[in-house]
């Protein structure tokens, strides 16, 4: 018997996985506004592949084409052979013991041919750790940020710069992360000129974008399948009722001073917009809104359907937010590949999934009015992983886990894929004469990603001036990317 909306049954599993993820990671140029840059892009989306992705597996394809939609099947860096590689070399015991990957057929032409690929980006300074790498991508500054949820980015983030310079709502700047934990710290900085009032809107979809909220708040403990449906619980929040709650709430709040604790707090309008978006999910009696099978990316479920992964869920909801709010800036953190510490095959699988997710995200952007041909997409690993395996949980092919953090070339050599209306198409580059005072790499670096994004949005000078004032080396706008 197939129960309608398998997602209901998956809810327990989703919540369990999500809770496990939280346990794992929890401890763990003032310029004119956009339009005057002469660029077509009005917004920037940065997909930060977290967890540490090495050049050797992604562009080198040392274990097969792990990211075929982005890069095809011919290695794009030297040292890995000239010819096409085969499919991903999973260990047989991994294939036999884990759910099969579900993803759409690989695109006939890899995405990198639509944009520019920088194959020698360097994460030049700072610890190759999760929050430090991500902090670099959202702030354009190397850092020693602590892995804590209550930490603050030491220099302004792209979210804050965009919101302050444009005077826009919280829904104009989003940060979605596959896991919550300390990544939430990236929504805002400690800079007194910016800070929480200009924060990005943070969401980790595994928690709020799931059946948890309607299921638990309903309190229902027994469901009877009548042959047609289960009568899944929903939360009804009609516009009239929501408006009434807001009116009554404003009467009450008039008696109580504002909080002064420095936490991120939305304006009433932002709160209403976000509530409406979340409420739309909880009002859907089919539960399809949380993650429809039509996404077509995930792992095979017991009943033949699709179980999403955290990355797939995150990208799906990033698309929903992009199409609804059309924000100026969005950063998306993927993290499935971080399985690599203990599971090399999981790391390879995570790359296949991230690859499918990025392709889907780009296709959604390019098929949506208001996003198409006015959105720049920058895809970049937060950092790499060590050059050597750690010996833990070896597979039958002699491969074991790989950690990150020591700062060898495996940790620091990454890449950048730039897609969008202003970038040159079909360009694969590895510049080696990039000059800047204090830049010893001679290459483009991770700090250049945020600066390029800020420049596209017309705020590069704000970022550069702020970082310079704070004694940081600002990144460069990567001129070679542009037409």
């Amino acid at each position: 018997m197939r129960i309608p909306r398998r997602t209901f049954l998956k809810a327990a599993g989703v919540a369990g996985v999500a809770l496990a993820a939280r346990r794992t990671f929890g401890p763990l140029i003032r310029t004119s506004h956009a339009g005057s840059t002469g660029l077509a892009a009005k917004r920037v989306v940065i997909v930060a592949i977290g967890g540490g992705l090495r050049l050797s597996e992604s562009l080198g394809m040392a274990d097969g084409a792990t990211m075929p939609n982005l890069f095809g099947s011919v290695p794009l860096v030297s040292g890995f052979g000239p010819g096409a590689v085969g499919p991903v070399a999973f260990a047989p015991e991994f294939v036999a013991g884990t759910p099969a990957i579900i993803r759409p057929a690989t695109a006939t032409t890899p995405l990198h041919t639509q944009g520019t690929l920088v194959t020698n980006l360097r994460y030049a300074e700072g610890p190759p750790g999760h929050l430090q790498g991500h902090c670099t991508l959202v702030s354009g500054a190397y850092n020693q940020m602590e892995n804590r949820g209550d930490a603050r980015v030491p220099t302004p983030t792209l979210f804050e710069i965009v919101r302050r310079e444009r005077g826009t709502a919280a829904t104009d700047a989003w940060y979605l992360s596959a896991v919550g934990g300390f990544y939430r710290a990236l929504q805002t900085s400690a800079d007194p000129d910016f800070g929480p009032r200009f924060a990005g809107t943070f969401l980790s979809p595994a928690g709020p974008m799931s059946a948890i909220v309607p299921l638990v708040s309903s309190g229902v403990r027994r469901y009877r399948f009548d042959g047609m449906s289960l009568g899944l619980p929903t939360i009804q929040d009609t516009p009239a009722e929501a408006a009434a709650v807001r009116r009554l709430g404003s009467i009450l709040d008039g008696n109580t001073p504002e909080y002064a604790d420095g936490e991120v707090r939305s304006s009433p309008d932002d709160r209403a917009a976000i509530r409406e978006h979340l409420g739309g999910l909880y009002a859907d009696p089919t539960y399809e809104s949380f993650y429809p099978d039509s996404v077509g990316i995930g792992l095979t479920a017991d009943d033949g359907g699709i179980d999403s992964t955290n990355d797939a869920l995150t990208v799906y909801h990033a698309e929903q937010i992009l199409t609804r709010f059309k924000p100026s800036v969005m950063v998306v953190t993927l993290l499935d590949i971080d399985a690599c510490h203990l599971d090399y095959n999981g790391y390879l699988r995570g790359q296949l999934l991230a690859d499918a997710c990025v392709r889907r995200l780009w296709e959604t952007i390019q098929s949506t009015d208001g996003l198409r041909n006015e959105t720049a997409l920058l895809v970049v690993p937060e950092h790499g992983r060590h050059l050597y395996h750690n010996g833990r949980y070896p597979d039958s092919l002699g491969r074991s886990g790989i950690d990150h953090g020591e700062g060898d070339d495996g940790d620091r050599n990454v890449w950048l894929l730039a897609l969008g209306p202003d970038f040159r198409a079909g360009q694969v580059i590895a510049p080696t004469a990039i000059a800047q005072s204090g830049r010893t790499s001679g290459r483009y670096e991770s700090v250049d990603v945020a600066m390029t994004a800020a420049s596209i949005l017309g705020h590069g000078d704000v970022l550069a001036a702020k970082l310079t004032a704070l004694g940081k080396r600002p990144g460069l706008t990567m001129q070679e990317l542009f037409r």
């Binding site: 129960i3 939280r22 924060a199 980790s204 309607p214 009434a244 008696n255 936490e263 709160r271 979340l278």
Partner: protein
């Protein structure tokens, strides 16, 4: 009786001195601080954990629980079950948003719409003012101010959407309720 000039001058001098002393005396007391004007009075927000526990206590008169959700077939046979930890799951959801306020509002909407709370329908409430006063006491621990009660009752009378559930949602969504 005549007052001699020296005495008059002395009196004026004493008066002036006294006045000066009195003025200085008053200003000394003006320096006494009775508390900060702004930040010192700012409320402290309840944590997500405190909010969830207070919501369950105030609306459902119980603490959050852990239990199995059971799925039954058409004839009552058990098809499956899974565990739910109300507090852990809701906290996980709340921790997944930067500003938890919108999600808190929706959780409150879910609980106030649940069968477990079983609020009366709007037309079943004979005395809206009494209902409002009762829930002010239960959720905020105080009587509504006159202007609050008048505004709530006026909203109740004017809008179909304002009823028991809306009143409770507004109360638990208020900064007053969500502060320690």
């Amino acid at each position: 009786m005549q007052t001699s000039l020296p005495k008059l001058l002395l009196s004026l001098l004493l008066l002036a001195t006294f006045a000066a002393c009195e003025k200085a005396y008053v200003y000394e007391f003006d320096e006494v601080s009775l508390g900060a004007d702004s930040t010192g009075r700012a409320p402290r927000a309840r944590t997500n954990n405190q909010f969830i526990r207070s919501l369950y206590a105030d609306l459902l008169a119980r603490t959050p629980e852990s239990y199995d959700v059971v799925l039954e077939g058409p004839t009552g046979e058990e098809l499956g079950r899974f565990g739910i930890d109300e507090e852990a799951y809701l906290l996980f959801a709340l921790d997944g948003v930067g500003d938890p306020a919108p999600l808190r509002e929706l959780i409150a909407a879910g609980i106030t719409g649940s069968e477990a709370l079983a609020l009366p329908a709007k037309d079943e409430v004979d005395d809206p003012a009494a209902f409002i006063i009762d829930w002010f006491r239960r959720l905020l621990g105080r009587e509504p101010a006159a202007h609050e009660l008048a505004a709530f009752v006026a909203e109740w009378d004017e809008y179909d959407a304002v009823g028991p559930r809306t009143v409770l949602r507004a109360l638990v969504g208020s900064r007053e309720y969500q502060s320690q």
